[in-house]
């Protein structure tokens, strides 16, 4: 078996273990390329049965418009059950990245919102598309990552994970986050998308888009909520995104790669890692680890 087929089989095994051992699983669907691969694997794992769990999208209300459109198309085409959760309290208070800063916005509209949704639906397992190669603290996280009643992760008290034997036992109120893509790298993801012809959001492909440059990052002006600084005018540039999140927090790269082969080629010669385009990781050293302990994915 090639390494991609091995990774694929491993992920399918993880999906099936969770569905067999938990009462109420859900898949966190963030619409990005990793979610696309995750969804594709879920469909493979349970065929000919339909995907036996709903998808949950935690909508911060600041996602790119193209993402929402893509999400709705996929859900309809594949006949999936989609739950969308927005932190209503946050919306009422007008929380947004421009007014409250990236850290607070992410905390309220993403981490808090996610916990609200998990509590509301009483999910005992949630699939996520995180990979161990993304960030140092992820490298040590388990495939079945235990969360207490408050959704907290305790990196010092993780269950040992041996062979392919996952411990799926939780008490009421506790849960696990399951990461079927743990052993995939960014390159694996792109190669697999190409090999399997998996649809992804068009924002990954280069096109002329209106952007402004801030703190060395190219931010796309996706809607009228984006406040422009004095003297700032959006420029049309050929850009694409290596990672997708809230549009004000996601930096584009200048690129002309408009096909998958071109993207993979660009990747192979790339000299920056994909999370570089994300503001939230840079707040402080070990910031991802802190967020994860508090319940971020």
């Amino acid at each position: 078996m090639t390494h991609l087929r091995q990774l694929e089989a491993e992920s399918i095994h993880i999906f099936r273990e969770v569905v067999a051992e938990f009462e109420r699983p859900v898949m966190l669907y963030s619409i990005g390329k990793d979610s696309a691969v995750l969804l594709h694997l879920a469909r493979k794992a349970f065929h000919p049965s339909p995907v036996p769990f709903p998808l949950l999208h935690v909508d911060t209300t600041w996602k790119f418009r193209d993402m929402i459109h893509f999400r709705d198309t996929i859900v309809k085409d594949y006949g999936l059950e989609l739950l969308v959760h927005i932190n209503a309290e946050g919306v009422k208070q007008g929380v947004g990245p421009f007014t409250h800063g990236s850290a607070l916005h992410t905390d309220i509209m993403k981490t808090e919102a996610l916990k609200q949704a998990l509590d509301h639906y009483k999910f005992d397992a949630a699939f996520g598309g995180a990979r161990r190669d993304e960030e140092a603290s992820r490298a040590k996280e388990r495939v079945f990552s235990f969360r207490n009643e408050a959704h907290r992760w305790d990196p010092k008290n993780q269950r040992p994970e041996l062979w392919n034997l996952y411990n799926g036992r939780v008490r009421k109120g506790e849960s696990i986050r399951a990461f079927p893509l743990s052993n995939w790298t960014e390159l694996d993801i792109w190669q697999y998308i190409y090999m399997e012809d998996i649809p992804i959001v068009p924002l990954y492909f280069a096109a002329k888009r209106p952007v402004v440059e801030r703190e060395g990052m190219l931010i796309m002006v996706d809607d009228e909520r984006m406040p422009l600084n004095a003297g700032e005018t959006p420029m049309m540039k050929s850009v694409r995104f290596r990672t997708l999140g809230c549009y004000p927090l996601t930096g584009a790269i200048e690129s002309t790669a408009s096909t998958l082969p071109e993207i993979i080629q660009e990747m192979l010669v790339a000299r920056t890692s994909e999370r570089q385009g994300r503001l939230i990781d840079k707040d402080q050293a070990g910031s991802m680890e802190k967020k994860k302990q508090e319940g971020y994915f």
Binding site: M1, T2, H3, L4, R5, L7, E8, A9, I12, H13, R16, E17, V19, A20, R43, K44, F46, H47, P48, S49, R132, D133, A136, S137, R138, A139, K140, P155, K156, R159, P160, E161, L162, W163, N164, L165, N167, R169, N183, T185, L187, Q191, Y194, M195, S258, T259, L260, P261, E262, I264, Q265, L268, R271, T272, S273, Q276, A285, G286, E289, K290
Partner: protein, 632 residues
């Protein structure tokens, strides 16, 4: 599509073709921080160009802040993921790293080398095809080298790279390398390795890491990366017997019933006969279903869904097997276990055992010895502590199918889970089945429990009195028995002190003995219930899990837990047997409430407020409950 993108497409197509030949090697690195292990892995990532500019920038900044290389790049910082560890300068858990060359993708399990972290090394080794054992050239073969080698061999790894590091600090001296090699080979004779590849390196300077070093012309073997890229790993040419643990029954509609799972060993073709060995049911494979269409054949590692020609009763946890090479099926086996939790192992306590996709209740029926990981000596023991390795017999609730770990690790490995904390407490590797179990078949009898109880005009049950010493358990139990007797009911009272004078006189008061004590009492109570009796058990029984075990022996509704909840101060004041006084004076060890814990029941059927209720009232309360529940 323009010309440029056409060219890119052609190029990437060619590239992906080569990727299809690419396979996966998982390896583990063993050594301590001092051996330069993190530097070793950092160097492989660095030289295989898997570090990006922003990561490098972050690394440079961190190196200046906390680094140990006087401002130079400290590769080790790449690997120490968690902030707490970074500040202590040690890796404390298992981390997985990835890199790829044109020939292979690699997954590296990075685990610490300190003694207290056997658990992590065993975890990392469980999924590895190969181990890299690092030795500091200045120090040679150390006790920890032997420990790492033993653990790697325990987990069944057959291929080892012996990386003699820091050669730059011994002037690249061939004699130093040869001396270490000789020492190691002599020691490794006792272990079960098939291939040992010694390579002299300097991870810091890069010698023999990626390509041959000019500094060591006397060495003509491969570099570390060359070896990792070409070493043969068991791929799909798997000649072992077919094993397929069923994960999930796939039933989208009435016309389709498939069994989803991953082939654990061997291969299967459409039309091949299979058997579920625990029940003996057999059939033939009708289809091998995948999302991408049906297959003719599936082999080790493939995740598929099988449909069978006959309707047979298969569920999650069953293992579909080749009919001609069946696994063992037994409810007892010998295994090596590695204890992974700070709370020590208690023989006789019931744990959950997960093997393949099945979970069964199991207990350690006898602990033969533990292994000193430094010397490999066998040491007699009554328990296992964190990071200790023992050889023991396990006894399961029901017969399951398995293979010896040495033959098929995929169906010979298991984990043990604590039933209350749900923690993974141990990892196990099966040596062989114990056939004893086959010879003791359950006698099926015509006169059963219900018939015996009915004759007595009652329903058989256990009243399990638990509470501190001096709480009044036995007094109340005695009164209840008297009242039942007066009502012409058939009863028996098992009392802590009485049983300890006979059946359990070989047991002391350590945690392990307390567990065994309760197990025997539980089994005895079960026989009494089978005889149709209302059985009263009066035992301190301080641990929740043992009371749960006793409950588990009986049928739903037969077990009534009576918690005599008397505050410790009152029990101590009563001190009928003078035991509290002795315990306070330190004359009695492990005395419940003083020097050993009492875990309060969470869901007792009957709770007696022993501080306020008189024994007479308590007994009436219990009789009323028995009447209400229809036992009498």
């Amino acid at each position: 599509m323009n010309d440029l993108s056409k060219a890119a497409t052609a190029e990437i197509d060619a590239y992906l073709k080569t990727q299809e030949q690419k396979n996966l090697l998982r390896f583990i690195t063993c050594g301590s921080v001092d051996d330069g292990k993190s530097t070793f892995i950092g160097r492989l990532l660095w030289d295989s160009k898997l570090l990006f500019e922003d990561q490098l920038a972050a690394l440079t900044a961190e190196s200046k802040r906390v680094g140990t290389q006087n401002g130079g790049i400290d590769y080790a910082l790449l690997l120490d993921g968690l902030q707490a560890e970074r500040e202590q300068g040690i890796t404390i858990d298992v981390a997985y790293r990835f890199f790829a060359t044109d020939k292979r993708k690699f997954i590296v399990a990075d685990t610490p080398g300190h003694e207290q972290y056997t658990r992590n090394m065993v975890t990392g080794a469980s999924t590895a095809d190969l181990a890299v054992i690092l030795i500091d050239a200045r120090k040679g073969v150390l006790i920890q080298t032997m420990r790492h080698s033993y653990l790697v061999s325990l987990l069944g790894i057959k291929k080892v790279v012996l990386a003699v590091n820091k050669m730059d600090l011994v002037d690249y001296d061939e004699a130093v390398f040869n001396k270490i090699l000789g020492d190691y080979m002599k020691f490794a004779e006792q272990l079960d390795f098939e291939e040992i590849t010694p390579i002299p390196v300097s991870a810091l300077k890069g010698d023999n890491m990626i390509c041959a070093s000019d500094a060591m012309p006397w060495y003509d073997g491969p570099s570390v990366l060359e070896h990792l890229e070409t070493v043969h790993v068991s791929a799909s040419d798997d000649n072992r017997p077919f094993r397929f643990p069923v994960q999930w029954v796939n039933r989208p509609n009435l016309d389709f019933r498939g069994f989803s799972g991953t082939v654990a060993s061997g291969s299967i073709r459409v039309g091949d006969p299979i058997v579920e060995p625990a029940s003996g049911q057999s059939s033939k494979v009708a289809r091998i279903v995948t999302f991408d269409g049906d297959l003719k054949e599936a082999s080790k590692g493939q995740a598929v869904t099988l449909t069978l020609e006959d309707e047979i009763d298969i569920s999650r946890g069953d293992i579909l097997c080749a009919t001609k090479a069946r696994p063992a099926t037994a409810d007892q086996f010998e295994a090596k276990i590695v204890w992974m939790k700070a709370e020590p192992m208690l023989p006789s306590r019931t744990y959950l055992l997960k093997l393949g996709t099945g979970t069964t209740a199991a207990r350690i029926s006898s602990l033969k010895y533990k292994v000193n990981v430094n010397t490999m000596e066998h040491v007699a023991t009554k328990t296992l502590e964190l990071n200790e390795i023992g050889v023991c017999n396990l006894s399961l609730d029901k017969a399951i199918s398995f293979d010896p770990y040495a033959d098929i690790p995929e169906t010979g490995s298991f984990i043990l889970i604590d039933r209350f904390t749900n923690a993974t407490v141990a990892a196990g590797m099966i040596d062989f089945a114990l056939r004893r179990a086959d010879n003791i078949h359950w006698q099926s009898v015509d006169i059963h429990k219900e018939a015996r109880a009915e004759q007595k005009g009652q329903k058989a049950s256990v009243l399990w009195f638990t509470g501190l010493s001096g709480s009044g358990k036995s007094t109340i139990a005695n009164l209840v028995e008297k009242k039942l007797h007066a009502m012409n009911k058939h009863t028996y009272l098992l009392d802590g002190d009485n049983v300890r004078h006979g059946l359990n006189k070989d047991l002391g008061f350590t945690d392990a003995d307390r567990v065994e004590n309760i197990r025997r009492v539980g089994e005895t109570a079960k026989l009494m219930v089978d005889a149709g009796l209302i059985t009263l058990v009066s035992f301190i029984s301080p641990f929740r899990s043992e009371r749960q075990m006793a409950r588990g022996l009986l049928e739903e509704g037969e077990f009534l837990e009576v918690f005599v909840d008397t505050p410790l101060e009152i029990c101590e004041e009563r001190d009928i047997k003078g035991l509290y006084k002795k315990a306070r004076a330190g004359e009695i060890k492990n005395f419940t409430g003083i020097s050993s814990d009492y875990e309060r029941p969470e869901n007792a059927e009957i709770i007696i407020d022993g501080g306020k209720t008189s024994p007479e009232d308590a007994a009436d309360q219990i009789i009323a409950t028995l009447e209400m529940r229809g036992f009498i």
